[in-house]
Symmetry: C2
C-alpha cells in the first residue's frame, strides 16, 4: 500500500572526525522515503527553495519516490542543517540551522495523498503535523516523529497529536524530555499513557525500544564497524519500519517486531556513507540478507 | 565443575538519586560468586580486614560459596568504595576508594584451588592476576576483567596477561582506552588481536558485545524498569556467564552465546536492589524464567 511521508527536505553540511561534506542531500522525508521505497510506493510531501538542485528531484524520482507533493517556492531557500559528530560518532552538535522555506511549511496534500492508508509525520512543527492529519481520510496507520524543539515549544499541540496517532517514534533524549523521566522504560510507558498505541524510542548505536499496552522490548542496533555518517539513521529506521508495515495486511505484534528489525537493518546501511549514498547502492536482497544475519545474531 | 574467582571483597557506600546505603556487602569477587553459584560450585579467593563483619562470611557460606580462600588480615581494614549514581542510573562517580588490604593483595591459592578448571580473575592489579595464573595447573578456561587504572598503570603486564587468558571482559570505556579506538566494534577486534580467544565488552544498560575470531554480536540488556543500584552488575554478568560455562562440557559458539544471555539476565536481577540483596532472594528457576522471556523478546 502506498505510504505518504511529510517532513523536511534539506541540504546538509556534515563534519565527522574523518571528513566533511557540504550541502549534500538530506532531510527527514528524504531519508525516510529512500528507506521505505525498498518495501512499498512512497509519496513524499515537502518543500524546497529555488536553490534546490534539480538533480536531487531526479534522483528521488529515479529511486521510485513519488515527488508530486514536493513544492518549490520561488525566491526562497531550502532548509539547511549543519552539524558535527563527536569522535564516538553517536553524539553530535548542531552548528547551524537555516529554516528558510520550512518556517512557512504548511502543505496542502494532493487529493490522491489524502486517501493514503499509511502516513508518517516526520520532522516538522506539531501544528503542521496536526493540519496534515486533518486533511487525511482515515489512514490505517499514522506514525509521527517529534523533536526536543517541539516538545518544548508546542506541548499542548503535542498532547493533542498524541491522542490522534497510532505510533510515536522519538529518540532517547526526547523521550526523557517528554516524559520528564530518566529511566527509558518508565519514560516509554508514560508516553504510551498520553495516547498512542505504540511508542518507539530510538537509542542510536544502542538500538531501539518498543512499547505497547501488551509488551515492551529492546532490540540492539545492527553492529557496524564502518560508521561514516550517522545523519538520517533515525529517519531511515522509521522508513524501513513503516515501509515493511505498509506491505502487511494487519499489524500483529509479530509484524511490528519484524518491522522494528527491518528499520534497524536499513538504518545500519544508512550510516555506512555520507548522505543517502549507501541507500542508493543497496537492493532489497541486501536488506533481507542483513536481516537474516541480524536474526541469527539474536538467536541462542 | 568448580570455579575459582579471585578479586575484591568490599564494603560499599552507594548513593543514588533516591536513597543511600553505607558499608554494604560488595566487591567484584562477591558479586561474581553470588551470581555464579546458581550454576556451579564457586571458590572465592579474596582478602578482608579486621573490620569485616563475620555475618558477611556466613552469608556467603550459607549461599553455598566456598570461602576457604578468603583471608582476614589482623590489624588491617577491608577495601572500601564509595560512589554516586547520576540520575540516568548508568553513569556514576567514584567519591572515595580506600584500598586498605587490597593494596598488598597477593593470594597464595590453596592446593585444591590450583587444580580448578575454571578461573575468573576479577578486579585487581594485573601483576596479581599474573601471579595467580602462574599458580594454576592448566585451567580449561581462564577469563579476566580489567579496569582503566590497570590499563593506564600496568600496560606491559596487561599485554602479557592478554596472551595467557582465554577471554577478557571489560566495559565500553575501558575497551576504548585499551584499544585506543572509539568505535567499539573496531576496539573489540583490536583487543582480540592482543591475544585472547574472545572479548566481551559490557555496555551497562545497553547490553554486551561478544568478539571471537569467527563472530561478533551484540545482545541488549534485559530491560528493567526498577533500577535501584547498578553496582555489581558487570561482575554479576561475568558470574552468570562463567557459571553457565562451568556447567558445559565444551565451549561451542552456541554455549558462549547462551552464557552471555545468562550473564545479562543475572545482572538484570542484581540492579533491582542495593548490594547483593536481590541475588539472595532469587532462585535458579527465576533466572531460567527470565532467560525464556529474554529469548522471546529477541525472537521475530
Amino acid at each position: 500500500m502506498p505510504l505518504v511521508v511529510v517532513g523536511s527536505v534539506a541540504l546538509d553540511s556534515v563534519e565527522t572526525p574523518e571528513a566533511k561534506r557540504e550541502n549534500v542531500l538530506g532531510g527527514s522525508a528524504v531519508y525516510f522515503s529512500l528507506a521505505a521505497r525498498f518495501f512499498t510506493r512512497v509519496r513524499l510531501v515537502g518543500v524546497v527553495g529555488e536553490d534546490w538542485p534539480a538533480e536531487h528531484t531526479k534522483l528521488l524520482e529515479d529511486s521510485g519516490v513519488d515527488v508530486s507533493g514536493l513544492s518549490v517556492v520561488p525566491g526562497a531557500k531550502t532548509f539547511r542543517w549543519r552539524g558535527r559528530y563527536l569522535p564516538n560518532m553517536n553524539d553530535r552538535e548542531t552548528l547551524e540551522v537555516q529554516l528558510n522555506v520550512m518556517e512557512q511549511f504548511d502543505p496542502v496534500l494532493p487529493e490522491e495523498h489524502r486517501r493514503c492508508r499509511f502516513l508518517f509525520l516526520a520532522n516538522g512543527s506539531t501544528r503542521m503535523q496536526l493540519r496534515v492529519l486533518e486533511q487525511c481520510v482515515g489512514p490505517n496507520l499514522t506514525v509521527a516523529d517529534t523533536m526536543d524543539h517541539w516538545i518544548r515549544t508546542e506541548p499542548q499541540e503535542l498532547r493533542t497529536l498524541l491522542q490522534r496517532i497510532d505510533g510515536l517514534v522519538l529518540n532517547d533524549f526526547e523521550a526523557t524530555l517528554l516524559a520528564e523521566e530518566q529511566n527509558l522504560i518508565r519514560a516509554g510507558r508514560k508516553i504510551l499513557e498520553m495516547g498512542p498505541n505504540f511508542v518507539v524510542i530510538k537509542k542510536g548505536e544502542h538500538g531501539a525500544m518498543f512499547f505497547s499496552r501488551h509488551e515492551m522490548y529492546v532490540l540492539p542496533a545492527y553492529p557496524t564497524a564502518d560508521v561514516i555518517d550517522p545523519t538520517g539513521a533515525g529517519d531511515s529506521f522509521a522508513g524501513g519500519m513503516m515501509g515493511y508495515l505498509a506491505e502487511q495486511t494487519e499489524f500483529s505484534p509479530e509484524d511490528l517486531k519484524t518491522a522494528m528489525a527491518y528499520g534497524i537493518v536499513v538504518a545500519s546501511f544508512t550510516v555506512e556513507d555520507f548522505s543517502v549514498y549507501r541507500l542508493l547502492k543497496i537492493r532489497r536482497q541486501d536488506i533481507d540478507a542483513r536481516l537474516d544475519a541480524y536474526r541469527k545474531m539474536l538467536t541462542f
